[in-house]
């Protein structure tokens, strides 16, 4: 790589920088200020140093919410990635089936997130919901997401998988369609089985889109708020209280701005670290190196 003699083009970034400054940097600096003070009322605050960080870091409910969050995001990726690839492989390659299946699969992505929570509340209700009624009365398995933690987890997972697997499937499908027909012809000539075609042609060729799908699904599931909030409100007990739900409880419902600010900064740093790692992985995919 040769040296770039003129870097003046960077000044064209200034308008974006100013907009981002107002939408991100100034609020972020405010949060940093809040995290160092005990705010009793607007304009009435006491400097407390790192006390909130100490309190938040030793808060066992935060630790539980953090592990719950990692468990949730891990399960989401473990289920949605293979399932999305399977759906993409099963989708038709040509004819009227292509638009039909694309639209059908994309439907869950078009529904507002709060509505999805409401849909699943009704769907899993033991008295009137199709799923809840079926489980309780037809199969004889007691199922109530408002009473049992396991049932609440199953419901949230089902909802998440139903809602977001289509995204993985669509991305994987786009990746599959981008593979030139010549690869498959060569595989047929070599007498490759369906498995080897998948492992040596389709999977490596899909690596770019799958990395993007992985990144999007991890970040979205790590920041999930609206759907579990509407569906379970974080309950029963604290069993589905994910990080953002807990954060809103502290910062808005209890109005503890100081601890809430310290918490959101820690949350922000975790998200920032993962974004950086994924960004580096994406850059390497672009360069054709192995991740």
């Amino acid at each position: 790589m040769e040296k770039w003699p003129n870097n003046k083009a960077w000044f064209l970034v200034i308008p974006v920088f100013v907009i981002v400054a107002f939408s991100a940097f100034i609020p972020l600096m405010t949060v940093i200020n809040y995290s160092l003070q005990d705010i009793l009322a607007p304009g009435q605050s006491v400097f407390v140093g790192t006390e909130w960080y100490k309190e938040i870091l030793s808060d066992y409910r935060l630790h539980e919410a953090l592990w719950r969050q990692f468990l949730f995001s891990g399960l989401v990726l473990l289920i949605e990635m293979p399932l999305g690839i399977l759906i993409a492989l099963a989708m038709p390659k040509r004819g009227w089936g292509v638009p039909a299946s694309l639209v059908t699969i994309a439907l869950p992505l078009l529904i507002p997130w709060n509505t999805i929570g409401t849909i699943w509340i009704i769907f899993t209700r033991p008295d009137i919901g199709l799923f809840g009624f079926g489980m309780n009365n037809l199969l004889g398995i007691p199922f109530d997401h408002t009473a049992s933690s396991l049932d609440a987890w199953i419901t949230v997972m089902l909802m998440e998988v139903w809602h977001w697997t289509p995204l993985v499937a669509l991305l994987a499908y786009a990746g599959l369609r981008a593979i030139p027909e010549a690869y498959y012809q060569a595989a047929r000539i070599d007498g490759a089985s369906a498995w080897s075609t998948f492992f040596y042609i389709q999977l490596p060729k899909m690596r770019g889109v799958l990395t993007i799908a992985f990144l999007l699904r991890f970040m979205d599931s790590f920041l999930i708020y609206a759907e579990p909030f509407v569906l379970t409100g974080g309950g029963p007990g604290n069993s589905t209280t994910f990080l953002s739900i807990y954060l809103v409880k502290i910062a808005l419902l209890q109005f503890d701005l100081g601890p809430g600010a310290a918490f959101s900064l820690i949350y922000f740093v975790i998200v920032l670290s993962f974004s950086f790692i994924f960004y580096q992985a994406l850059l390497r995919v672009g360069k054709g190196e192995t991740v």
Partner: protein, 94 residues
Amino acid sequence: MTLTLKWMEWTVPGAIFCSTIFLLVIAMTIWQTVAPSMERRGFLPIATTPGDRLFVGLLGGVYIFLAWVGLTSFTLWILLPIIVCWIIVVMLWG
């Protein structure tokens, strides 16, 4: 309407922290404009530009801070030179 910064609840430590990072970014911009640098490979597992290294240094500094505050009760004045050293090490050899 009067324009006031009251809602941001500024304190001296908060202001020092934010302006230090702001000044670092400006200094890096000027440095890169005057003497553009290459990506290179250090002890970090990826090839990095000086900007990447500053970012990794600051991010690592935050984790050191959190570990310090969460696990120990020593004064922060011992922590400050540790984090400054860490950032310098990452900038030089990262």
